[in-house]
């Protein structure tokens, strides 16, 4: 997980945030039973822990001091029962705490993941994947860890200390009070040291993530380093970093090793006081030997939980930082979501789904339609005076108007930054206009359910994204209830069937993480099969700029023709053949349509499109000749 560490060194808030912890604790509510059980076990553990010296005391006073073995078998029996009980309690509390840890972790993760599936694209534009991964993995882990084991240590520590204090006071309140006088001293020393140590460790972590980044740079840039002959300088810079790391780590370790002796000495003062005053009591005949020995052990035992408790408070601060980040992620409201009213209305009109199906326009389908749970979109898209800006004040589109007829194929061409992707993302409602409205089939699309819009959508991206799993599973992603035959049929339609069957395992071939075991062209063909299986009413194609070998190129071209049949489609086009085949070509510049029409008409104009076309023509032909050796 170290690669995500780099995203973790944000600032820590210092004050205890009660409201935040209330939110976190809500996640423990479903496990209330276990939390209570855990507390019970921890209290009994502390009680048993505290009772062990009492047994020693009893043995000394009754057998050794009285010089008799009478009752020894019973004593042994009781001792054994306590030991077994102790071991059982140890087993139970660890597994219960483990249960809470893993289940709370699971719950928070589920909540986080669900939220991530709802958040708008703009959120993902702002948060890099690494940042999100760190929230979902290490932060949630740390949080649930603290919840479970923090409770363990806290309950055990406090009960233990309270229990011992009570037993001491019960055995002899005077000596008990004397021994307890060291507690305030201990509290002050612990607080002081823990604060210092915590700070040092944060510093170490920060440096650690810088070292990771440095290794990353050293490895990624190794080739450039060679050509610049910078090995020595790089190492020098790296040594400054490791030197700092050395100093910080040693400092943190030294502070920790300084803290321990303090606790020990304070503990010894407690024991010393016990022997001083307790011993005098024994001499005076007011105290038994056994009680004295018990006091000495108690005085030592009393200080064991202190280090644990101090650690919890330190960790609580770290956990709070994690909690802040995780909760802020879970509580982020999606910028694009359905108006509850719209949803309600939709439920009324369209459920049960059969009614909806009849309302859909049925056109000739390539694939036979089985129960479509949503009515079909006709595919008329209207942009009415649309404004859009990714960032306040930086308009990408302003007063943009466009009407697309059902079944029309629109090719968008123009420079990077001309607004091609923006138009497509707006049409899909991945973003919503900042001004004006967009209508689908004549209705303002914010009055339509998101799920309906997206269910009618098919998208093939420039760099096709596949999921780990088999080819079959990846194509079926387009329609989850598709039979194997339908998957194969879809693959045949986009001419992917042939290459798939050349694999040893055919459709059951694993594609690897992100599809890494396939070539780009193969991934593209599979993503076409996936899209055609979904049978969308609105199809989006962001054409790849990078070339694949000529043969695959032709297959892809055929696949595109197939997918475009009878569908409204937007193509961010790069290939001449696709552009030529479009019903309408929009030439964009700075968010404005500067030319539109079909290929023939636009060429006649000899304007922007003409220039663009000639340039692309040369480029594409060069590529055909120069790329001949590829693949």
């Amino acid at each position: 997980m170290s690669s995500y560490e780099a995203f973790q060194e944000e600032d820590y808030s210092k004050r205890f945030d009660l409201a935040l912890w209330k939110k976190v604790l809500r996640f423990t509510l479903p496990h209330k039973k276990y939390m209570i059980l855990l507390a019970v076990f921890m209290v009994s553990l502390a009680a048993l822990d505290a009772s062990l010296p009492l047994l020693t005391m009893y043995a000394i006073d009754h057998f050794i001091a009285k010089n008799t073995l009478e009752g020894l078998p019973l004593f042994v029996l009781i001792y054994l029962v306590i030991i077994i009980g102790f071991s059982l309690v140890v087993f139970c509390f660890i597994s219960i705490a483990g249960r809470i840890e893993t289940y709370v972790c699971y719950d928070i993760r589920t909540a986080g993941f669900k939220r991530l599936q709802e958040l708008s694209f703009s959120y993902f534009d702002r948060k890099p994947v690494g940042w999100l991964m760190a929230r979902m993995t290490s932060d949630i882990q740390r949080l649930s860890d603290t919840i479970a084991w923090g409770v363990v240590d806290f309950v055990w520590g406090t009960t233990m200390m309270a229990g011992i204090a009570l037993v001491m006071l019960y055995l002899n309140w005077k000596i008990g009070l004397i021994v307890l006088t060291v507690v305030p001293m201990l509290a002050i020393v612990s607080l002081y040291f823990q604060k210092m140590i915590l700070k040092s460790y944060r510093n170490v972590r920060k440096l650690n993530s810088r070292i990771t980044a440095s290794f990353n740079e050293g490895i990624m840039g190794a080739k450039t380093t060679k050509t610049l002959v910078r090995e020595a300088e790089n190492l020098q810079e790296f040594k400054e970093l490791t030197g700092g790391m050395y100093r910080s780590s040693v400092l943190a370790a030294v502070q920790s090793s300084l803290y321990l002796p303090f606790v020990l000495v304070i503990g010894a003062i407690g024991s010393g006081l016990a022997i001083w005053f307790g011993g005098s009591g024994v001499i005076a005949g007011t105290l038994t030997y056994g009680t004295l020995v018990a006091f000495i052990s108690y005085a030592q035992q009393f200080f064991n939980p202190v280090q644990e408790l101090a650690r919890i408070f330190a960790e609580l601060q770290n956990a709070q930082a994690s909690a802040e980040r995780v909760m802020s992620m879970i509580e982020t409201e999606p910028e694009i979501k359905d108006d509850p009213q719209v949803l309600q209305q939709y439920e009324r009109v369209h459920h049960p789904p059969q009614n909806g199906k009849q309302r859909g326009v049925s056109t000739t389908r390539v694939m036979s339609q089985q129960d479509r749970s949503v009515p079909r979109m006709r595919g008329q898209i209207e942009f009415c005076h649309v404004d859009f800006a990714y960032k306040e004040g930086q308009h990408v589109l302003s007063d943009f108007n466009l009407t697309v007829r059902p079944g029309e194929t629109i090719a968008l061409v123009g420079e990077t930054g001309a607004g091609k992707s923006t138009i497509v993302n707006l049409a899909c409602r991945f973003y919503e206009p900042t001004g004006g409205i967009i209508k689908i089939d004549g209705t303002d699309y914010t009055r339509l359910p998101l799920h309906w819009i997206h269910s009618n959508l098919g998208v093939v991206l420039q760099s096709p994204h596949l999921f780990s799993g088999t080819i079959l599973e990846n194509i079926r992603y387009g329609r989850l209830d598709a039979t194997d035959e339908q998957v194969v049929e879809a693959a045949k339609l986009v001419h992917a069937h042939h290459f798939i069957t050349t694999f040893e395992n055919g459709y059951h071939t694993e594609v690897g993480e992100g599809g890494s075991l396939l070539s780009t062209g193969q991934k593209q063909l599979i993503s076409f099969a996936r899209a055609i299986l979904a049978d969308p009413a609105l199809f989006i194609l962001d054409e790849a700029t990078s070339s694949v070998d000529t043969e695959t190129e032709q297959l892809i071209q055929k696949a595109i023709d197939r997918v475009l049949e009878n569908r409204t489609s937007f193509i961010i086009a790069h290939r001449l053949s696709t552009i030529r085949a479009a019903d309408r070509i929009l030439v964009l510049e700075y968010g404005k349509i500067i030319e539109q029409g079909n290929h023939h008409d636009l060429l006649l104009k000899k304007g922007h499109y003409y220039n663009l076309y000639t340039q692309q023509f040369v480029h594409e032909h060069e590529e055909v000749m120069l790329g001949a050796c590829q693949a």
Binding site: S2, A59, I64, T68, L69, L72, F75, V76, I83, S87, L88, V90, F91, F93, I94, S95, T110, F113, L116, Q117, L132, T212, F215, G218, M220, G221, A222, K223, T227, N234, F238, T242, M245, V250, A253, S257, P261, L264, A268, S271, G272, I275, Y289, C428, H451, V459, H465, S468, E513, G514, H599, N611, Q615, F617, V618, H621, E622, M625, L626, C629
Partner: protein, 626 residues
């Protein structure tokens, strides 16, 4: 195993003193720890109680000197003070142990990190071409951390357990042999149990780790493919998929924790039974009169001190196993042979190159049976500009990578200024060659520092000039912080074209006698490329320049054009010469002709005909390709 243990030992070299110091300090601390119960014993038995003093002579005489048992009885604070002082003594040594073992482990980690970093930089180009960055970083960070933690925490812990045993055994034996036997009975059992259990649990650890890995993969894929998920409205499907992995990870981790709970529960049972046995046996022997009360207390106390570190041995052994695995993974990197940087001509850095380059029947392949370059021969005069063109995979990059000796050739010869290339010292040679790689890398420094990397002494003026030639100067000035803008994670994100141009500026600033562009204008738009071309043309003659290019406009004005096809030079000459030959070069120029035809067909009218070698239509900056 033995081999790896030796490696583990070798890592400690230079730190032995600190380690021995730490272990020794631990030993002294332990001595003090053991002394406290002895004090308690004497106090209970002879000072508070009425048993005769049973202690080494010097203690007896010390007690007499302060005023005898009588005095101490009434001044028990002295005993208390002794306890505090003894504990303070223990504290001092604990501190020293903590400090020294931290220093030793940290400087070991520091050395290891530096060694890895240095070694990775010096591994040959070929290694980095096939290396997996993620895996390497994992080894350099997590594996180093595993080893560091073992040395910082566990290593001394082994010493502690052994030291405890070594110290406590004689004391116990001197007090009572029978009791010692009782007290030690469970020790081998605990050790055996710990070892056995942690071997068994290893599989559960692994299962949990794997489940976590799968969970991360699903998460990562979902987040990177969120657009696909959304586009297919697969929200519910993804949640189910994630849930399956989430449940799996939860259950496997829970199972692991339950197993560990079993371990701690059982080992507690063994340890506590051992203490009970000591107590009961002590009580028995005491009533038999062979043991004093104080001695029983000592045994019970020692037992408590001794058992927990021993119980910990299982943990230590697992961690050692992990550390050994990590060492193996790191050693794999360190075993890769480094590139020899400093052998060859010139012995003492002097002279600069003229830049005359002769390839003579050179063949080269990354693997011997798969030649990439086949019998390549050509000559480049100092100061010439040479363009290399040809299909992807023809061997263009390979050819230029041979020049700074990023790879070494075996067949044929390359002579640089008349001397065989592989007799040059790599370090020196690379300083004489400025090369812009296909995918240039920028360091996370400011733009200014990134450009200046090639010549640290260059004044700002020259940095700006170089940036102007690379047509990036104005772009940089547009950034809020100009040349002081940081690049990389914490700074601006640059486009591929901008990165290439900064790398070009860096290469130009180097002022090297040989300048190589390995397809380094691919992400730059046509218009900017033309600008850079013009700027470079003005500098023509200053350095031998080799350009790999795809666009004809780039190639046309070169002094020499090499057409490389399938590893062979198929055409060589300048533009005019190549246009007179039938070959790839002319075929590409003929595309222009095809274009006229295509447009004429489409529009249905006859265009005026452009002569084939007229490139004005392409030279003219038009809208860039998107």
């Amino acid at each position: 195993m033995g081999h790896k243990l030796k490696q583990l030992w070798r890592l400690m070299q230079g730190e032995e003193k600190r380690y021995w110091g730490a272990i020794l300090a631990l030993g002294f601390a332990t001595v003090f720890v053991f002394m406290v119960p002895l004090v308690v014993r004497i106090t209970i038995d002879s000072i508070i109680g009425d048993k005769p003093l049973d202690a080494p002579g010097w203690i007896v005489s010390a007690i007499h000197r302060v005023g005898g048992v009588e005095f101490l009885q009434h001044h028990l604070w002295v005993i208390a003070l002794i306890m505090v002082v003894l504990t303070a003594g223990q504290g001092v040594f604990m501190y020293l142990k903590g400090r020294w073992s931290a220093e030793a482990a940290e400087s070991m980690a520091k050395r290891l990190r530096e060694q890895l970093y240095d070694h990775l930089q010096k591994l040959p180009f070929a290694y980095h071409s096939r290396a997996e960055t993620g895996d390497l970083i994992q080894r350099c960070t997590s594996d180093v951390e595993t080893i560091r933690r073992f040395f910082a925490v566990q290593f001394v812990e082994v010493g502690r357990a052994l030291m405890m045993l070594a110290l406590v055994l004689p004391i116990m034996l001197s007090l009572d042999v029978q009791m010692t036997l009782v007290a030690m009975a469970a020790v081998p059992v605990i050790i055996a149990f710990a070892v056995f259990f942690f071997i068994k649990v290893k599989a559960a650890f692994q299962l949990s780790d794997e489940a976590e890995g799968e969970l991360s993969t699903v998460l990562q894929e979902n987040l990177t493919g969120i657009r696909v998920v959304r586009a297919f409205a697969r929200h519910d499907y993804e949640i189910d998929k994630f849930d399956a992995k989430n449940v799996d990870f939860r259950d496997k981790t829970y199972r692991l924790i339950t197993l560990l709970a079993l371990y701690w529960g059982l080992s507690d049972l063994i340890c506590l039974s051992q203490i009970a046995a000591v107590l009961v046996a002590g009580a028995y022997f005491a009533t038999q009169g062979t043991l004093t009360l104080g001695t029983v207390v000592v045994f019970v106390t020692y037992e408590g001190m001794l058992l927990w570190p021993i119980r910990h041995m299982g943990r230590v052994l697992t961690d050692m196993g992990k550390a050994l695995v990590s060492i193996g993974r790191i050693q794999e990197i360190l075993d890769e042979p480094q590139e020899d940087m400093l052998q060859g001509y010139p012995p003492e850095g002097h002279d600069t190159l003229k830049g005359e380059l002769v390839f003579d029947r050179l063949s080269f392949g990354y693997t011997p049976d798969l030649p990439v370059l086949k019998e390549v021969s050509f000559r480049i005069q100092p100061g010439q500009t040479v363009a290399i063109m040809g299909p992807t995979g023809a061997g263009k990059s390979t050819l230029v990578n041979l020049i700074p000796r990023l790879y070494d050739y075996q067949q044929g010869s390359i002579r640089l200024d008349g001397r065989e290339l592989n007799t040059y010292d790599r370090h020196w040679l690379r300083q004489q060659i400025a090369i812009v790689l296909q995918e240039p890398f920028l360091y996370s420094k400011t733009i200014r520092d990134n450009i200046r990397l090639s010549r640290k002494s260059a004044p700002d003026r020259e940095v700006y000039d170089a940036a102007s030639v690379a047509s990036i100067h104005d772009v940089i000035l547009d950034f809020e912080k100009g040349y002081d803008t940081a690049v990389g994670e914490r700074g601006v994100t640059l486009s591929g074209g901008q990165k290439q141009r900064i790398a070009i500026a860096r290469a130009i600033l180097q002022n090297a006698p040989i300048l190589i562009f390995d397809d380094s204008l691919s992400a730059v738009d046509t218009e900017t490329e033309a600008k850079i071309q013009r700027a470079l043309a003005q500098r023509a003659g200053r350095a031998t320049t080799i350009i790999i290019a795809h666009r004809l406009t780039t190639v046309k004005h070169a002094d020499l054009i090499l057409v490389l096809e399938d590893g062979r030079v198929t055409q060589i000459g300048n533009h005019d010469q190549l246009m007179r030959q039938d070959g790839l070069y002319r075929r590409i120029w003929n595309i222009q002709h095809a274009l006229e035809q295509d447009i004429a067909d489409e529009i249905g009218e006859s265009n005026e005909f452009y002569p084939v070698d007229d490139d004005s239509r392409i030279d003219e900056p038009v809208l860039t390709r998107s």
